[in-house]
Structure formats: C-alpha cells, structure tokens
C-alpha cells in the first residue's frame, strides 16, 4: 500500500490551489501558438500574483529550433501581446530565469533522453523534487507517440508511489469521434493512471461557468424551481463573431458540432442540469455530470433530421463590413459541407427534466459574441393578468451570461405606473464586472494551478469524454449517411438560418435575441 503523503500543518487555512508543490511544467509544442498566447502568459501572471510554487521551471519542448534565450524572447513577446498584465520589468529577470527550452522531435527517443537529463539538471539546480507536468499542446494524432516515448524514457512516475508526481495535460479535442477518442484514451491510460490525466477544456476554467454550481446550490430560491414542474425550456447559446479566420485547416475537419458542442456546450449543459453532488470532491462532481450525459436521449437517423440543424455562413456584413461566405474563406474547400452553425433540440430522460426541451445553438459569424444559458419558466395560468391571448404575458427568464459581460439577469413582469393595470416585462441585471470590479484571471491560470495542486474537478474524465462523444457520434453518423452535399446558409452577421427558426417555432417558442 502506498505511503500517505505527510501533512503540512503550515498550509492549514490557506487555499490548497494556491499551495502547489515545486514542479516543472514541460510544454510539448512549446514554440507554438497556444504556448505563446495562453500558457506562458498564464504562468507569468501566476508568478506576478505570487502563487506559483517557490521552486518552479517551464521547459518548452518542440521541433522549433529555439534555445533558452530565444524561448525567453518568444515568451516575452507572447506576454506583451496577450497577457492580461503588461511586462513588469522589475520582475522579468527573476521570471525569465525559470524558462528553458529543448529542441527535439517528438518521435526521436534520444530527444526524450536528453529531455530527462536536462530536467534533472534544472530541477537539481532549482530545488524541484522531480514533480512534473507534461502539457501536450500538440495534434491529437501525436498523443499516443508522445506518451509512449515519455514512458520509455522513464519520465513517468507511478500515480500511487511515494515519490514525485507526474501529471499529463491533454488539450481538447480528445479524438474526433467515439472510436478515435477511445484510442486516445487507451494510449493515455496505457501509461498514466486516470488520476494523473487532466483533459483540459478552458471553458470550464471561466469564473462564470464555475459560478453555475454556486448560483444553483448556494441559493435556496432557484433549486426548488429547477425542474420540469416550473421550467418550460432551456436555451444554451455560444455565438462567435469571427469567421473561420486562420483556423480553416482545423475547422474543416472539425465543424461546429465537434468544436463546440461535444465539449464546451455539453459541459455547460451538465452543470446546468446535474443533480446536486453530495460533496465538491472532484470525482463526486464529475459523477454527477456524467449522469446528465447518460440521460441524454440519443438522436439517431430521422431524429437527427428533425432535431438538429446545421448550416454554413454565406457572405454578409459583420459590423458594417462585407465579409465572405465560409466556402470562400482561405483554406476552405469550395464544396465544403463543414457546418459553422448547429442548433439542437434535445431531451434529458430523467425525473427532473422529463419533457423539458433544451435548445442548443452555436455558430460562427453571428452578430455578436455571446454565451449564455437561459432558463425560461412556464407561463402563469391564463387568469388574472394573463387572460388576453393577444397580449400574453412574457414568461419569466433567468439568464446566466458567460461572456462577454458575465452576469445574471432575471426578466419578470411588473405593473406600469398609472390607474390602468398594464403589465410590462422588466429586467433585473447583475454584472460581475460592475459589482466586483476586479478582472477575473484567465481560465488557463486557474486550470494550471489546479493541475499543480492535483485538483481534477474542472477537468474531463475519460468516461464523460466518451459519453459525450457517443452522443455526438450518432449525429455525425446520421449526417454522413444522409449524403448531403449542400447545407442551409445564413448570411454572415445574422442570428440563424430559416431552418433553425422553424425548429424552435414548431414548438411555439423562439430563439432569444442576445
């Protein structure tokens, strides 16, 4: 039996996440875009906040021909452009001393042997007892290769041993369908224990996504209403203003369903619909989320046709500027049938949500960037103030905005001043930024700290990834079988294709205007 780690009495009363042990962060793909835009700036901000371990090192590892010095310059440039805080010249020399780089090919065993030697040398100098995080910022096709090489080079410590820890961080997407996701997971679990694997979805690191649980379970007024008795339907929207931009290569292979629904949106759905977990332990929360995925009514064959709309943006105007249609974007095939819009009507077959439709939609080239969960409550009976069918009362709506202006609003009806009884919908609005003032840390900052502290709550477990892929793969297969060569279109800068309007209007409901 493994020896229990010795407790540290001095850390009592301090947040565990802010007390990571000394460790090295090795970024596979350290010369890439994610490292430059997100990872190095995130580590830098954590350093400025004084919450990194006292002994810490970052090692970039990739094919790019960089040295320590040029990696530091690369990191500095990324921080200057993308960090939420500018470079602090007083601290920069201290920080850059913790940045290192090793150039090597992911399929070259000798590169891993060199990596091990270099890490041991740096760790001895800095005082890191061999704790390591490997961040795989690489294409999914290389994951199996890298983890095998890590193991062969002796860079993976057992999960339950008394020695230093090894953890691996895997970027989404984990696979591109159920089968490939299983393969990736198999290759990971062949080398690492599940508790060492952190499948990252940066969406879950956003403050407001985390707040969904707080809002639901820290207030007694919402939970009693959070069920099929009082809720008419739920809409989850993630809209993007941008077109495909420079990501056509990736997006052509992915599409909106894989890019957004399989991970971000289904995770948000889980947080919105899950039962109260009995504790906040990582696995208890993740079990509760998994139950939601298991309750998803499968969409297959004709159901897909009836409940799912996919579309592509056509040429249009975005904030007054003419923009091309998807098929005219650079790197996109002229006969592409990759969807840039998906709308789905789904049901959760459990007691709480029986008969309550969830409408999901996500798209590129929408009029504005916005993400929200809107819970629409059932209408009041058609008596008293709701007797006139031509002037039906607006339903009460609780909307949780995830971006851009994180917050919560409640629409309800009130009487207009005057002798006549006239009802008018008003909105009570709470905005995080307005109330709390402070800028939230970037999602990657929070998530990196969680990995250092070994807290997997905000990361996706294997069974959840595969459950969501199982549901999504049904849709993908139905699309493939349909043989469609043309998708409905919506003009860039508009909210939806006609088909999506019909999807919701058929239920006597409408999409929310954000």
């Amino acid at each position: 039996m493994a020896e229990a780690p010795q407790q540290n009495p001095l850390t009592v009363g301090l947040l565990k996440t802010l007390l990571p042990q000394p460790c090295s962060l090795v970024i596979f793909g350290g010369g890439g875009d994610l490292a430059r835009r997100k990872l190095v700036p995130a580590v830098y901000n954590l350093a400025l906040d004084g919450v990194l371990p006292a002994n810490f090192a970052v090692m970039g590892f990739a094919r790019n021909d960089l040295k320590d010095e040029s990696f530091r310059a690369f990191g500095r440039e990324g921080i200057q452009k993308f960090s939420r805080r500018p470079i602090d010249e007083a601290h920069w020399p201290d920080f850059e001393r913790s940045l290192f780089y090793l150039s090597g090919s992911f399929d070259d065993p000798s590169a891993y042997a060199t990596l091990r030697g270099r890490l041991e040398e740096i760790e001895a100098a800095i005082g890191i007892p061999g704790n390591r995080l490997f961040y795989l910022s690489i294409p999914p096709s290389l994951i199996a290769l890298c983890v095998e090489q890590l193991k062969a080079a002796g860079l993976v410590m057992p999960a339950d041993g008394p020695g230093p820890f090894t953890r691996i961080i895997v970027e989404k997407p984990v696979g591109r369908d159920l089968e490939s996701a299983r393969k990736v997971n198999e290759s990971l679990s062949g080398v690492f224990d599940e508790q060492q694997i952190f499948r990252i979805d940066h969406y879950l690191g956003k403050e407001t996504v985390q707040n969904i649980l707080v809002m639901r379970f820290a207030n007694s007024i919402f939970e009693p209403l959070w069920n099929q008795k009082y809720i008419d339907h739920v809409q989850i929207t993630v809209s993007e203003e941008e077109g495909v931009g420079t990501r056509a290569g990736y997006y052509e292979e992915a599409g909106a369903l894989r890019d957004m629904v399989q991970n971000h949106i289904l995770q948000v759905l889980c947080l919105t619909a899950m039962e109260p977990p009995w504790s906040l332990d990582a696995d208890v929360v993740r079990d509760a989320k998994l139950e939601v995925l298991r309750c998803l009514r499968p969409l297959t064959g004709k159901d897909v046709e009836a409940h799912v709309v996919r579309a592509q943006y056509a040429a249009g105007f975005h904030r007054g500027v003419e923009v091309p249609g998807y098929r005219r974007e650079e790197g996109v095939k002229s006969d592409s049938i990759t969807e840039t819009y998906v709308a789905i009507k789904l049901f959760l077959d459990n007691w709480r949500w029986a008969g309550v439709p969830f409408y999901l939609r996500t798209a590129k080239r929408m009029p504005k960037r916005a993400s929200e969960i809107a819970v629409q409550f059932k209408d009041v009976p058609q008596i008293l103030f709701n007797t006139d069918p031509d002037a039906a009362l607006e339903a009460s709506v609780l909307a949780l905005r995830l971006q851009p202006e994180e917050g919560l609003s409640l629409r309800f009806s009130t009487k207009l001043p005057g002798p006549k009884v006239r009802i008018y919908p008003v909105k009570m609005d709470f905005r995080y930024g307005t109330t709390f003032g402070e800028a939230s840390p970037e999602a990657y900052e929070r998530l990196l700290l969680d990995v250092m502290a070994g807290d997997a709550t905000l990361f996706m477990r294997r069974d959840a990834v595969e459950a969501s892929w199982a549901w999504v793969t049904n849709i993908l297969e139905a699309w493939q079988q349909s043989g469609t060569r043309w998708l409905p279109e919506y003009p860039a800068g508009t909210w939806s294709p006609l088909e999506a309007e019909k999807l919701i209007q058929a239920d006597n409901r409408k999409w929310r205007t954000l």
Binding site: N8, L10, L19, L48, A54, G433
Partner: protein, 377 residues
C-alpha cells in the same frame, strides 16, 4: 459641477455639506439627477455590496482614508459612512457631507456609483455618531466597521462597542499600534470573548498571507522532510511599529507546529528573545526591531537540523514586491519571488467580502497574547 478626476476611470463628486437629518434625502437627489452630478451621458448604475462604516479619531487619519476610499469602492462597491470622531475636543460640533465615487466600466459604457457620507463630530457630539450610522445603514447588506485609527479597537471604549454591535465584521490594522503590548492583550481578550459570530480581521494578519504561503511551501514535508519537526531557532526582523505583526507570525508557527511559550529572556528592547517548547525539544525565537524601513515584517530566518547540522532558510523583502529566499548550509540556490504589494485600501477591499470566521487567526492571536503578557510581567 464636474467630478474631480482621480484617474482616467475614477472620479469623486466633491463633498456637499448637508444637515445630518437630511443625509438620506440628499443621497437620493444625487441618484435621481445623475447627469447634474456627472456631466456625462453614460448610464449610471448604483452598486452596493456592503455598508462600510469607517472610524477615524482625527482629521489627518480621515484625509488618508478619503484618498483610499475610491479604490476600495472600485473593488467592492459600498455605501461608505466615514466617521471622524474627536472626543478630546472641547467644542461639541457635528457636520456632515454627502459625496459619491464613480468609475467607468466596460469601455466607458457605464458609470458605477457608490455613495459616500462623511460625518465629523467632536467633543460630546461624538456620542451621536452611532445613531446617525444606524439610520443610514442599508438593510439586507453586510455591514463592516473599519476601525481606521492607530488605537486598538477595544481601547475605543463605548463608541467602539456601539459601532461594533451594528457590524457583521470589524476590520483593524495592528501595524502602527504605538503600545503593542497593551493593544494585543486587550484585542485578544475581546476576540476570545466574542461569541456573536462576528468576523474580526487584522490587516496585518492578512499581509502575512504571502509569508505564510512561502514558508509553508518552502518547508513542506514533501520538499524538505523533517524540517518542521526539527526547528531550533526562528528570527524575525521587523520595521518600526510592527511588533504585533511579528508576534502574529510567530503565533501562527507556534500554534500550527505545537510550540508552547516556555519563558526565557523577555526584557523589552530592540531585540526580544523567547523560549518555546516544541513536541521535539526546545527552540529559541528572537524578534528584532530594525531602526528604519517599512513598518512590517522584513525578514524571517528559520533554522532546523538535518543530519546533525543546522540549515537556515531566510525569507526577506529585497525590494518593492520582491521576496528573496536563501538557504545556508544547503546546495539550494538563492531565489527571488514576486510578492504583490498590498496597499491598505486593497487589503480592506479584499477583506470586505470575506465573511467567514478565521479560527486560525484566533488561535494565532491567543499565542500572541501569551507572548505580550510575558512582557507585562
């Protein structure tokens, strides 16, 4: 009148003298006619997360607080009631002012607005302050009393007790206490006797958080096995008027590591030495006052034994926002870490939403009281 610009994003409306009885009415007028106040067209949102009652015993203290309030309400919008009570004055006088602080949010799309009331009272009129506060508190919101004077709260007598009774939390700062011994003993007695569930927060304790985190991480059993069980000496150096904070740091180590004060040389002076008894043997604690520098803990050295030889790790402020770590007798290198500077306004703003009772602080204060009482004997 246009607001005075404090920064590109923060502005304060100049205080308007009002009758104490008309304060609420004047605040409502500010809100109803916002354009008259701000001179801009952006929508105005009044935000209030707390009632913040601030007490100062002199005008010069209040002037400092006035400069801090805008940055506090940016982080934690509150209705601020600033009380300036000079009980020693012979002339009974009460005067009140209403004001407001604004900051722009979201690319100038919205103005956020917090109300600010100042009440100056002197002589016997200071007794009126609690009743004025009582009528101005917004219901259903937490109320914090920030005791912003260099006097320990319990030494504030009846006025403190009356204001305290309205508050969900009391915030004070033991940095700068002129009589640390008496202040620590009286404050600890009050906190230990407190049974109402009220939150008590010492900003000096909050300032120690980066120190606690760094010391806890550096001596973690997973990093240096056995260090915490074999500590033989601790030396804390502090700037002027930071003795109470140094006691808190030692108090924290003592209550977490099971050390008990065991007497020793406790004559007051620049350097004071205590003996402690740990579960593993005796150890010495020295607290040394530096003649100059910032009034806070400046360095901490901890010595333990490993393989029969002593190893000392030293944490020291080496510049603004920078902590240096050196280990003597070990191959580990010198390291420099960021320790974000903690202005008082920022500490208050961070403390305001913190409504959980800090039992560790209470335990720590108890040890600090024991150390202070040793000097009284």
């Amino acid at each position: 009148m246009s607001p005075e610009a404090l920064s590109p994003r923060i502005a304060t409306y100049p205080p308007k003298p009002v009758d104490v009885a008309a304060i609420e009415q004047e605040l409502t007028l500010l809100w109803r006619h916002p354009r008259v106040v701000t001179g801009t067209k952006e929508p105005l949102t009044r935000v209030c997360m707390s009632n913040l009652v601030v007490f100062c015993s002199a005008r010069d203290q209040a002037n400092v607080v006035m400069g801090e309030i805008p940055s506090i309400v940016v982080q934690h919008p509150s209705r601020v009631l600033l009380l300036v009570g000079d009980a020693n004055s012979q002339t009974p006088l009460v005067e009140a002012y209403v004001s407001a602080h604004y900051h722009l949010f979201g690319e100038g799309e919205q103005q956020i607005y917090s109300e600010h009331v100042t009440i100056n009272a002197s002589g016997r009129a200071t007794r009126l302050l609690p009743s004025a506060v009582r009528s101005l508190l917004i219901g259903d919101l937490p109320t914090a009393l920030w005791w912003a004077t260099p006097q320990a709260p319990p030494l504030g007598g009846e006025l403190f007790q009356e204001l305290r009774a309205m508050a969900d939390q009391v915030i004070y700062d033991s940095l700068g206490w002129p009589d640390a011994v008496r202040s620590v003993v009286s404050t600890a007695n009050w906190v230990m006797g407190e049974r109402s569930g009220q939150v008590v927060a010492d900003l000096a304790w909050r300032r120690l958080k980066p120190w606690r985190r760094l010391i806890g991480q550096s001596l973690d059993p997973a990093v240096i096995p056995g260090a915490l069980e074999s500590v033989s000496e601790v030396v804390v150096e502090h700037g002027p008027h930071a003795l109470a904070q140094a006691w808190l740091l030692i108090g924290w180590l003592a209550c977490r590591l099971g050390w008990r004060p065991a007497g020793g040389k406790v004559a007051p002076g620049v350097e004071v030495t205590w003996g402690f008894q740990s579960p593993h043997g005796p150890l010495h604690v020295t607290i040394r006052r530096l003649s100059e520098g910032e009034p806070e803990v400046r360095s901490t050295s901890i010595t333990w034994n490993t393989g029969g030889r002593p190893v000392t790790i030293r944490f020291a402020v080496i510049g603004p926002g920078r902590l240096g770590v050196t280990t003597e007798g070990s191959p580990a290198p010198h390291r420099v870490l960021a320790a974000p500077e903690q202005p008082r306004a920022s500490l208050v703003a961070r403390q305001l939403p913190d409504l959980g009772r800090d039992t560790l602080f209470r335990d720590t204060l108890e040890v600090a009281r024991t150390m202070a009482e040793a000097l009284l004997r």
